[in-house]
Amino acid sequence: MQRPSYGQSPPLHHPVPQHVSTVPQLRSPPPPTSQPHSQGYDGSPYQQQQPRVASGGGNMFGQYGNMINDPAAQLASQFGQTAFKQGQEYLEQNVSRFISVSSLKHYFNVTNFYVINKLYLVLFPWRHKPWSRKQAVGPNGQEGWYLPPRDDINSPDMYIPVMSFVTYIFLQTLIAGLRGNFQPELFGYIATTALVVVIVEILGLKLGCYLLSISNESQLLDLVAYSGYKFVGVIVTISVAEIANAGKGTGGWIGWTVFFYTFLANSLFLMRSLKYVLLPENNSDNRAPMQTMQTESRAKRNQRTQFLFFYSYVVQLFFMWILSRP
């Protein structure tokens, strides 16, 4: 959205559009005989009063200049606009039944500061101290929902996993191209592989939670987000191995060293973060028979800790190895 700054422009008072529509604005640009006021054009924020703007801004609308005078074409364009708006409403109504868009928005509510620090955390989690997620306090002092990633470094987001997933696909195809084996089906093949890895991992986690009676209060998207953080480590591994090995994949010392380092970092990150998701706290156990409850819950807690350890290390090793194969 470039606003060309022409020297003396009187202050414009046109309302700023709240919704950026991709339909080209069909209000006619001011003709070269400039009119004294431009406040009627609420649909064309780029138009200013100066005569030479018509040529500068007119190259965008110049092709429409002849069309506007034709009422049939104008009717057709209005029809197209209303059809587009109706299609959008229909889409919103139906998609919102399957995917709750507002809860997705919570995961994409990130800042630059958060992204950089989170990437640093994924690759170097050893010095970070408090791993618990912050909760917003409601008006009565009761605990409400979790803070969005904007305010809380420990909160999982979907921006980094989605971006690293796409970057992983592009990187794999780029490397395959550098090696000479590029085919257009490779995109779909790699995307399917990565998606299958994520889905199988989440299914295994859900199965483990069911078998161990872990009541999972966090949402499914949280687990998907945690599962998507491994793509960051895989990207680092692949790129470093590619630079160092000049086309041989993750062979050799450097490749495997970086792979194990990122694997360990990712596993520690997962263990610390999932501790609050999978392992229940001590206070939530019911207190009726204290003795048997305590011994039993200690055994169960050991089971759960073992499961968490198994999931964070062994399962992640397997999947990261799958993802970093050439």
Binding site: Y189, T192, Y210, L211
Partner: protein, 83 residues
């Protein structure tokens, strides 16, 4: 595509295996059937791992008996027709 097709085959075969096992001859022998589970004391019956596995196996068997017939027929036809 090769991976997705193979995964479908693997999962179908595994669920077939779970559905086929004989209840009284095999599952009772290795104590994974609902009949051979006696609750030891109180609360540990409902939430132990073994009880969960028993419940999972029996529920998969009862739910997937009929759809498995359909899926198996589809896969057999696919393999016959399209090689």
């Amino acid at each position: 595509m090769y991976i997705v097709g193979n995964l479908i085959y693997i999962s179908c075969l595994l669920i077939n295996a779970i559905a086929i096992l004989s209840e009284d001859r095999f599952l009772a022998r290795i104590k994974l059937s609902p009949t051979s589970h006696d609750p030891s004391f109180g609360q540990s019956a409902d939430t132990s791992v073994r009880y969960k596995i028993i419940t999972l196996i029996s529920s998969v068997r009862t739910v997937m008996r009929v759809p498995l017939i359909v899926i198996n027929i589809l896969i057999i036809l696919y393999e016959l027709v399209l090689g």
